[in-house]
């Protein structure tokens, strides 16, 4: 069993929030401009 590094949970097509594993987010961070993305760390 393994877990996808990116997933979503919402049943609707709008209001989408994607969840990225922290280490993947770190790899992408220079491409994630706070002017265009909202993000918040969470622990599952």
């Amino acid at each position: 069993m393994s877990n996808s590094a990116v997933f979503e949970t919402h049943p609707l097509i709008w209001s989408r929030v994607f969840f990225l594993r922290q280490d993947l987010f770190d790899l992408l961070q220079d491409a994630i401009d706070p002017n265009h993305f909202a993000f918040r760390p969470i622990e599952i």
């Binding site: 393994s2 979503e8 919402h10 922290q22």
Partner: protein, 196 residues
């Protein structure tokens, strides 16, 4: 396990809404195998499920003048090829092709509100509906030749799997743009072989 919740924001540092820039930056997309009837949109076809056939490309409608390294259309997270090359071997991450379907010849940097003062008759006619910008601007075929390769980061929707297991956690949190988001999340139990 640590995750980061990611959403788009249409606000920039002055807290003004910049819908035109947001539309051009993130764009729209539809899956090649998506239902044509909007009434079917809520049935999950627009999300990826474990075991989905990923050979159907994501079809992009966006600005062809500027393509950021990472953008989030309404239905997917998309990486430009240079960013894709950096993450292509990341474990448990799948990709699908993201191809341009319609490219508009317009770009407005963040905070540039000149769109609303434009004397262009097409823009003036439609400036009341900036959120429909990509619908009413024409396609520009000349932009396809220079459009970079893009890949969708496949995000499996765990809404159904978690419902089946009953192992759900509900969390309220406030995103950076102050929009309160109520998210129910869990972990995928079974993943296809290509994720192992």
């Amino acid at each position: 396990m640590k995750f980061v919740a990611l959403d788009t924001t249409t606000q920039w540092e002055t807290k003004q809404m910049d819908t035109v820039h947001d539309q051009l930056f993130h764009g729209n997309a539809i899956r090649a195998d998506a239902p044509t009837d909007p009434a079917e949109y809520g049935q999950g076809t627009w999300s990826h499920s474990v075991g989905d056939d990923l050979s159907h490309p994501l079809l992009l409608t966006r600005s062809g003048v500027f393509v950021p390294p990472l953008f989030m259309t309404a239905v997917a997270l998309v990486a430009r090829d240079d960013l894709y090359q950096r993450i292509r071997h990341f474990p448990n991450l799948s990709f699908a092709d993201a191809l341009p379907k319609k490219l508009v010849n317009l770009w407005k940097p963040i905070g540039d509100f000149s769109f609303y003062k434009s004397r262009d008759p097409v823009l003036r006619k439609n400036l009341m509906w900036p959120d429909m910008l990509l619908d009413w601007l024409p396609n520009d075929p000349s932009l396809f030749a220079t459009f970079p390769k893009c890949k969708e980061l496949v995000a499996y929707n765990v809404h159904k799997p978690q419902g089946e297991t009953g192992k759900t956690v509900r969390v309220n949190f406030v995103m950076n743009n102050d929009r309160e988001t109520d998210v129910e999340f869990g972990r995928i139990r079974d993943t296809p072989a290509d994720l192992e």
